[in-house]
Each structure stands twice: as C-alpha cells, then as structure tokens.
Symmetry: C2
Subunit: 95 residues, 2 copies
DNA sequence: GCTACAGATCGACAGATGTCAATATCTTCG
DNA sequence: CGAAGATATTGACATCTGTCGATCTGTAGC
C-alpha cells in the first residue's frame, strides 16, 4: 500500500477491517481471544467490564470484519482469530 | 498483542491509530502520501474527489493520530508518513 | 417439561464522524 | 499594498456507533 495509491474498492475493504480495530473495547476483546487461543464470550464480560449485549455486539463486528471466527459448541461459542486476515492488514501497512 | 491481553490504556492508544485508518478516503489519502514520499494537500483533492475542507479534515485526523506529519513550505504543507508509527501498528498485529 | 445459562436481537439514546458551503488565515507575487 | 492561491476553521447536517435494559433463542441437565 505504501508503494502505490489504493484503489477505491480496496480502500473500502481495508477500512472495514481497521474500523473493527478502532475501538478500545474491541481491541481488548480481540487481544484476549488471540492470547487465549480460544475463548467464549462469557469469559470476556467480566475482564472487559461491559454488558453481555455489548460484548456480543463487538464479537459480531469483529467476525463481520473477518478478524475472528466463531464455532458453536453446545451453549458456548468458541472464538478464534483468523491469522490470514491479520497478515493482510500487516501487509497493507508494510513498506 | 497476540500473546497477552491489552491493557486499557494501551488499547485506547492503539484504537486511535486504527480509527484514523478506518475510513476509505483517509486510507487513500494516506496511501497517496506514502506512495509519493511527500505531497501537498492540493495534490490530493482531485484524485480523491472530495472538497478541500474535507481533505484538510482528513489530513488533520491522520496527523493527530501520528501517522503523518506536515511541514509547512511556503503556501504548501508537505505531508510525509511517520514510519515509526506504522511499525508500531504492524507490531501490534504480529503473532 | 422445566429451569438455568450462553448468546443473539431489538429499541432507544447520547455522542462521534464525514461531508460541504462559507469564511478566515497566511504566503507569495506583481 | 492588493490580488491570488493553499490551508485551516466554523457551522450545520445526516449518518454511524457504542452502550445498555429488556427480550428472544437455543442448549444442557434434572
């Protein structure tokens, strides 16, 4: 991205991913999922200090942006990061 | 960031930088500055297709986030990217 | 079936954000 | 000085976003 101007479509696509990381609460949620390898939403509520609907909202935003993916396991949802999406973002910031 | 949960302060700091990249127009402005090494605001208006105040607003947001820095040269402002800030973001996304 | 729990969805509301027209500021040049 | 050009600032507006309480949808275990 640092060698040639971004096309409009590509910029919109990238912006969505960055927008997903543009909130402190969401960054913390994301880092907790990344750090633990896998965790469910209920594990995030207390450490993050937000209500359950708010956490659910944030996981949805992160998932829609392709940064995490959730697998249902009984009553729980196991969230994990999507490494390929991260690579994409790092590449976009690379010189 | 992927090995341990982010502290609240650090998350807020990072979120500001990502928020600056969370808009397609701003991403394009940023990529054009990066690609050209240095350019002034007036060079951005036509290719980006936004009004002059809007471009000015976006450069200010990017500058406030520490992603670019502007040096006044007569009537112009020469914008350049801040590589250290970019490194910081890439590091935050590194496994 | 009933209860308890994980998670999603809905509705509402305050606050932030992107955009432009109008205007102001500052700098160069004649 | 006066005119012209590059940016910045202001004001206004529509839209988006983060948050919560209330409620709905599942699933597990009794």
């Amino acid at each position: 991205m640092l060698v040639e101007p971004l096309a409009e479509g590509h910029a919109t696509e990238l912006a969505k991913a960055f927008a997903a990381l543009a909130d402190p609460v969401r960054l913390r949620v994301f880092s907790m999922i990344a750090a633990s390898g896998t965790c469910c939403s209920c594990d995030l509520i207390e450490p993050v200090g937000k209500s359950q609907p708010t956490i659910s909202h944030h996981t949805k935003v992160l998932a829609d942006a392709g940064l995490i993916t959730g697998e249902k396991a009984g009553r729980w949802v196991n969230w994990t990061v999507v490494p390929a999406r991260l690579d994409q973002l790092r590449a976009a910031l690379a010189p």
